[in-house]
């Protein structure tokens, strides 16, 4: 298939990059779409489903896995939704656009693939009850306990998940501010999944188990024009505590950082902007791109000073919208494992 | 008189106006007479021969052949004259390439309706062509070809035989032999012979000699 064709296609839909910045980077206004409102209480299970009146939304699951021989793996399963216009329609005329990304990372390989679909015909979608998120044959069925499947040209996986803790609202009770200017999204996570299953790799199937983290986010507002990319981590610390943090890079201002500390029982402790510092300490060459693949993270309130290093620095998502996404190993004051995502380096 | 030519003029277009090739030529020949027509190149000998042979018409003057003024004849009249009364032998032989020796010898006689098979066979025999009757001109030597041409000229027993340098394309020995044959056969048929040549030696062998200089008999 023509990569250029789809790159151009996605450029039109999402702007230059994926995830937070990319999704918010389209257009210049949210005219006609619903807007995130502070103080909105999540209503489950309805909010697990799609919010089609919002412009963008995703179901974003990452997992740190290990096989019986002690080899570490990373896994990604993402479903993006975007409304192409505020006006909703049936069948082929649907305004809903869906994109799936999936990947497996091993210490020395990275497999990724993608799918596209439009809403309205049943090829892709999310239903809240019973929970099913799908595009083609990729599925996530069940959100407390469930099954996660993906197939690609050179890999596949079939996993069981079960949540060991509650859903955790990010930001101010789920209202997550993305810049000084006040752009925001609704954002909650499920960082407490146990996950186990089979990865099918070119060399054959591998039985694995580990921890997974689901992010749910929806919004209609673009990021600021000057925001050039984003570095995001979700960490499972050995103590059972979790840390979500991100750094939005700007072409004119210093980076804007946000963090949420999550206790083992699922209580979020949101930190104000600037509390977290993220510093790249090593850069890898990924097909000619300079990508920071080791980070120093410091969170003053927790005496946290750790280093997160990529399991495989070459975990580049070579999809139509491309970015870096892969598992990390955490050392320092609070050792553990986690996932790193970086956009805007291509 | 077999042939009487009086005050014949002929000019051809040249680079600077017309060139008078013949300027009031006159001559006369009786039956059985042999005449050599000599002169340097360009003196008009061949032109005179062609006019006498009905191959071309004079600008003015009288050419009587067998008592008829051929200068007045049209195209078809001259063709009939050539066919019926005159035999010609050219320097280049000019046989008909698609016909064999026998057919070439008989051709003109048959055209004129005077074909005599016995005479033709006799001619071929005497010309030494009996073995070549079924051969085509391209298969014959120069001397053989000229002998065919002589046979052709005499096959119809014409009153007048014209020859234009008949041995000019042959070596001396062959030429002499061919000329001997021609003179012998012409004498046998009683025809008059007018032969153009530039060779004094050959001219001496004919009964009379006329010299053409700058378009006039001198």
């Amino acid at each position: 298939m023509s990569v250029r064709y789809f790159a151009a296609l996605l450029l039109a839909v999402f702007g230059a990059t994926a995830h937070a910045q990319g999704f918010a980077g389209m257009g210049t206004s949210a005219d006609g779409y619903a807007l995130p409102q502070p103080g909105t209480e999540f209503a489950f299970p309805a909010d697990h489903g799609a919010h089609e009146d919002f412009r963008i939304e995703w179901w974003y699951l990452t997992a740190n896995l290990r096989d019986q021989g002690g080899t570490d793996y990373g896994l990604q399963w993402t479903l993006f939704r975007s409304a192409l216009s505020p006006e909703s329609n049936e069948d082929w005329q649907s305004n809903q656009f869906w994109m799936g990304h999936a990947a497996i990372t091993t210490p020395d390989a990275h497999f990724s693939t993608e799918r596209f679909a439009r809403g309205g015909i049943g090829q892709a979608g999310v239903t809240a009850e019973p929970f099913t998120a799908w595009i083609d044959d990729w599925q996530m069925t069940g959100i407390e306990t469930g099954r996660l499947t993906t197939t690609g040209p050179n890999f596949a996986y079939d996993m069981e998940i079960s949540a060991q803790g509650p859903f955790v609202p990010q930001g101010e009770s789920g209202y997550s501010v993305k810049s000084e200017a006040g752009q925001a999204s609704h954002y909650y996570s499920q960082p407490f999944y146990r996950i186990a299953g089979t990865l099918t790799l070119p060399d054959g199937p591998v039985e694995v188990e580990g921890q997974a983290w689901l992010d749910r986010e929806w919004s209609s507002q673009p990021l600021s024009e000057d925001q050039t990319g984003w570095d995001w981590v979700s960490l499972h610390l050995d103590t059972g505590e979790k840390l979500m943090g991100y750094r939005l890079r700007s072409s004119i201002d210093p980076p804007y950082t946000v963090a949420t500390w999550i206790t083992p029982d699922g209580t979020p402790e949101p930190y104000p902007a600037g509390a977290l510092t993220m510093t790249p300490t090593a850069t890898s060459d990924v097909d000619g791109r300079a990508v920071p693949t080791t980070w120093r993270l410091q969170l003053s309130g927790k005496n946290l000073d750790i280093s997160a290093a990529a399991l495989n620095p070459q975990a580049w998502m070579d999809t139509a919208v491309s970015y870096w996404e892969g598992p990390v190993k955490v050392t320092g004051s609070h050792p553990g494992i986690g996932y790193l995502e970086m956009t805007g380096y291509d | 008189m077999v042939l009487a030519v009086d005050d014949v003029w002929k000019s051809y277009p040249g680079e600077s106006g017309r060139i008078d090739v013949l300027r009031g030529v006159g001559l006369a020949m009786a039956a059985g007479e042999t005449v050599a027509l000599t002169g340097e190149s360009g003196s008009g000998k061949s032109t005179l021969l062609h006019l006498v042979g009905g191959l071309d018409a004079p600008d003015r003057g009288v050419i009587m052949v067998g008592g008829e003024d051929i200068a007045r004849l049209g195209d078809s009249g001259r063709a009939a004259l050539r066919r019926d009364r005159i035999g010609v032998v050219f320097q280049q032989f000019n046989l008909i390439p698609s016909l064999d020796t026998a057919a070439n010898i008989a051709f003109q006689a048959r055209l004129a309706g005077r074909h005599d098979a016995a005479w033709c066979a006799d001619l071929a025999e005497r010309l030494g062509l009996a073995g070549q009757l079924r051969q085509f001109p391209e298969q014959l030597s120069g001397g053989q070809q000229q002998r065919v041409a002589i046979g052709r000229a005499l096959a119809g027993r014409p009153g007048l035989v014209l020859a234009d340098e008949p041995t000019g394309n042959l070596d001396e020995a062959t030429g002499d032999a061919v000329l001997d044959l021609m003179l012998e056969l012409v004498a046998d048929t009683g025809a008059a012979l007018l032969m153009v040549t530039h060779s004094e030696r050959l001219a001496a062998r004919l009964g009379r000699r006329l010299h053409l200089h700058a378009g006039e008999i001198s």
Partner: protein
């Protein structure tokens, strides 16, 4: 040395401008006809390629429905099973007075190279997918379409003529389709562990990309026909070139000798000769390309009309210049020159410095040549016979045809020589003997031109007989096939019953004409229902059938198929046939169905309706006394407001069918005339070049007592005689050719065999025309001879005056 040598060689042409013109013009004509045909072919093929690339036909495997369309749910189920397939909707619609093929794609799943290169779908995805959508059209058509559509029409390069691109949803709306999908493109990047397509979609037909597009397969034969014609014209042109080169080289033998004697090495001489020829080839090639372009541009609209009428294939009516075409044209010009000159150059390479003492033995050489020609003719005749007896397929058909034609051409001088030898022997009188003998001697010089004439004439007779036979058969068939006097189509499904009720008391019979499109034996086919009515029993053009076949059809126990389908699949009465809808039928009969590119099946109407209740029931054939047709049409218009195009009477339908038929052969006829003109030109140039050589041969005959006019008349008679003999020889060759076309080529190309009819009047006309052409060609040199001044002829006899 090189320059001096080349200029010496070229000086010949300055003195013989006619020979030069013959050479260049012959080569230019050959190149022109060949490259013109190639231009037409490549233009048409490019159009198909665009069209089938638009459908992903050439690059990707496809899943096709056995009948009707693929339901949306089937597509989604396939996607949800992991199959990477992309849906395509296609249909025809009339916009701004023209018929368009509307193609709807899903840009989110389609392989990137299927969408037209010039369409910026990605940059405008929201606009393409939502709102009213967008339509991409060939740039020149956007203006008219913008008026006819309520959504933006955008220009895009790389769209085949007559094709519109849009989103699948928009296409379904515009075509009035209800969620159905025409076909699925199978992407390359299928996921790991996906079951075989056969298991995944056993209900759909898989077509591999190498099977090509329907259009390309259907039109292959048509283009092969054109190519064969181009090749024939090229061959005829090469005869001229060969003659001109041969003569020029013959006349330059003394010059070659002199050059060699002056110290020019043999290699250099041969290279110089080749350079000279290359120069001519390039010049003539360029002229030929311009001519060829003009020919192609003039013929293309007719070809496009033919292809549209006969195959429904859209071809752009305008010609674009492709670099490959220029290259191929130049190559063919050079190749043709090389072919035509090979013998002459080879002889130059073996030329002794000293001339042989004897002039060339023409008679013996030509005798040897006759043996070679006769041998060649015999071998080719054998090849032709072998291809006819044991070969199969279109290529074997053309081998048969080509070998036959060349064998006939090679045999011609042999036959003429034999005839003239007998005539010479039988001739009485010196002039007759000379005439025949001389004619025979002229044969080698004229035989190339005569061979060209034979080729052109026999092609003309063959193709003419084929077309005329076809026309006769076709009109007779139309009379049988178009039995109803009036064909009525209801405007809507709802209107149809009322229409029928209105018609029934007013007409002798109302015969439904209802059909579905499906696939039979893997290719598109039409399945028609026929009512049990004497109209069909009496007049259907049946070729072979089981006894009481109409009863069997009425009872649903047998179906009828057209000849194309029967021949393509090698099936006939008594054989089983799988129809859409898991319908296992038995073939009861085969009928002729000329002009139809696809297979057709006729089934009993009630049985078709029972299996396909949703079939469109709008068309009827009405049996009525012909004089009442107009009144009935008027009544229908008044009662139902039916537009004229929904009521077609038999006569206009016939006229329309015949018009398509005639257009189909317009190109053939044009090429035929061109080929014949080339042959005429060949005769003219041969006679003109011979005339110069002839003088020394004619002069002695003149000197021995023939007038110039008489000689000229004989020369004219000679040319006419040879032309007449060639025309006589061309008739049997043409008939053989025609038989091959009708019984072999047509069957392979179109799927039908036609009876052969003879049209002696046409031959007579053609013969007279050719004689006139030959007479005209011979008149010029003959007149020249008649008017040659004696002084000119006398030069033959003397070198001095």
């Amino acid at each position: 040395m090189w320059i001096a040598g080349l200029s010496a060689l070229l000086s010949h042409w300055r003195r013989k401008p006619l020979q030069l013109a013959t050479l260049v013009l012959g080569l230019a004509l050959a190149t022109a006809l060949w490259s013109g045909v190639q231009a037409i072919n490549s233009e048409a093929r490019a159009s198909y390629a665009d069209a089938s690339a638009a459908l992903g036909e050439t690059r990707y495997a496809q899943l096709l429905p056995r009948e009707g369309e693929i339901p949306l749910a089937r597509y989604v189920a396939l996607r949800r099973a992991g199959g990477q397939v992309s849906p395509v909707v296609e249909g025809r619609m009339t916009l701004a007075g023209e018929s368009w093929r509307l193609i709807g794609i899903d840009p989110l799943t389609v392989p990137g190279d299927v969408a037209p290169s010039g369409a910026n779908i990605a940059g405008d995805l929201a606009g393409f997918l939502t709102g009213g959508g967008r339509v991409y059209a060939p740039p020149e058509a956007t203006g008219a379409l913008a008026q006819a559509l309520d959504i933006p029409v955008l220009p895009a390069d790389g769209i085949a003529p007559g094709v519109l691109f849009t989103d699948i949803g928009v296409a379904q709306r515009l075509l009035g389709l209800d969620g159905g999908i025409s076909r699925l493109i199978l992407r390359d990047d299928q996921p790991l562990g996906l079951p075989e397509v056969a298991t995944l979609a056993p209900d759909l037909d898989l077509r591999r990309p190498e099977q090509g597009s329907d259009v390309a397969r259907l039109t292959d034969s048509f283009h092969l026909n054109l190519t064969a014609f181009g090749l024939l014209s090229f061959a005829v042109g090469l005869f001229i070139v060969h003659g001109a080169i041969g003569l020029a080289f013959e006349q330059r033998r003394p010059m070659f000798r002199t050059l060699r004697a002056l110290g020019l090495p043999m290699r250099t001489l041969v290279i110089l000769v080749c350079l000279e020829l290359l120069l001519f080839a390039l010049i003539a090639g360029a002229i030929g390309m311009v001519l060829g372009y003009a020919i192609a541009a003039a013929l293309l609209p007719d070809v496009a009309a033919t292809l549209r009428g006969l195959y429904g294939a859209e071809v752009d009516g305008s010609l674009s210049l492709r670099p490959a075409w220029w290259l191929a044209g130049t190559a063919i010009a050079i190749g043709g020159t090389a072919l035509a000159a090979a013998g002459a150059v080879w002889r130059v390479g073996r030329l002794p410095i000293l001339a042989a003492a004897q002039p060339r033995a023409w008679a013996r050489a030509s005798e040897r040549r006759l043996y070679v020609l006769g041998g060649g003719a015999a071998i080719l005749a054998l090849v032709s016979l072998t291809a006819g007896l044991f070969g199969s397929g279109l290529v074997a058909g053309f081998v048969l045809l080509g070998a036959l034609l060349i064998a006939a051409a090679l045999a011609l001088p042999v036959l003429l020589h034999a005839f003239l030898t007998v005539a010479t022997r039988k001739a009485r009188g010196p002039l007759a003997e000379w005439f025949w003998a001389d004619t025979r001697q002229q044969l080698p010089g004229l035989s190339l031109a005569l061979m060209a004439l034979l080729l052109a004439l026999s092609a003309n007779i063959g193709v003419g007989t084929m077309v005329a036979s076809f026309r006769l058969t076709f009109t007779g068939w139309l009379d049988q096939r178009l039995a109803s006097e009036l064909y009525v189509t209801a405007e809507t499904e709802a209107q149809a019953p009322a229409l029928r009720a209105f018609l029934e008391p007013r007409a002798d019979a109302v015969l439904p004409i209802w059909n579905i499109d499906g696939r039979v034996a893997g290719l598109p086919a039409e399945i028609y229902g026929v009512a049990d009515h004497p109209t069909y029993r009496d007049s259907w053009p049946m070729l072979e059938s089981l006894p009481d076949v109409w009863d069997l059809v009425a009872q649903g126990e047998a179906v009828l198929i057209n000849e194309q389908l029967a021949r393509r699949e090698g099936i006939g009465p008594g054989d089983p046939l799988s129809l859409p809808g898991a319908w296992e039928a038995q073939i009861g009969g085969v009928y002729s169905d000329y002009g139809n590119p696809v297979g057709q099946v006729l089934v009993g109407l009630p049985h078709l309706v029972a299996r396909f209740p949703d079939i469109e029931k709008r068309r009827f054939g009405v049996r009525i006394a012909p004089e009442r047709t107009a009144d009935l049409a008027r009544a229908l218009r008044d009662e139902f407001g039916l537009p004229a195009q929904n009521m077609i009477d038999q006569a206009s339908l016939k006229a329309f069918s015949l018009q398509i038929f005639e257009r189909t052969f317009t190109v053939t006829a044009a090429l035929n005339v061109l080929t014949l003109s080339v042959a005429g030109f060949a005769i003219l140039t041969s006679l003109l070049t011979l005339a110069a050589v002839r003088q020394p041969q004619l002069a002695p005959v003149w000197a021995l007592g023939l007038t110039r006019r008489r000689l000229a008349a004989l020369e004219l008679a000679r040319a006419l005689l040879l032309a007449a003999l060639t025309i006589l020889a061309a008739i049997p060759v043409g008939l053989l050719l025609s038989w091959t076309l009708l019984a072999v080529i047509n069957v392979e190309a179109f799927g039908w065999r036609l009876p052969m009819f003879l049209f002696p009047r046409d031959w007579l006309v053609l013969g007279l025309l050719s004689l006139m052409a030959a007479a005209l060609a011979a008149l010029w040199p003959a007149r020249k001879l008649a008017r040659t001044p004696p002084a000119e002829l006398l030069k033959i006899f003397v070198n001095e005056r």
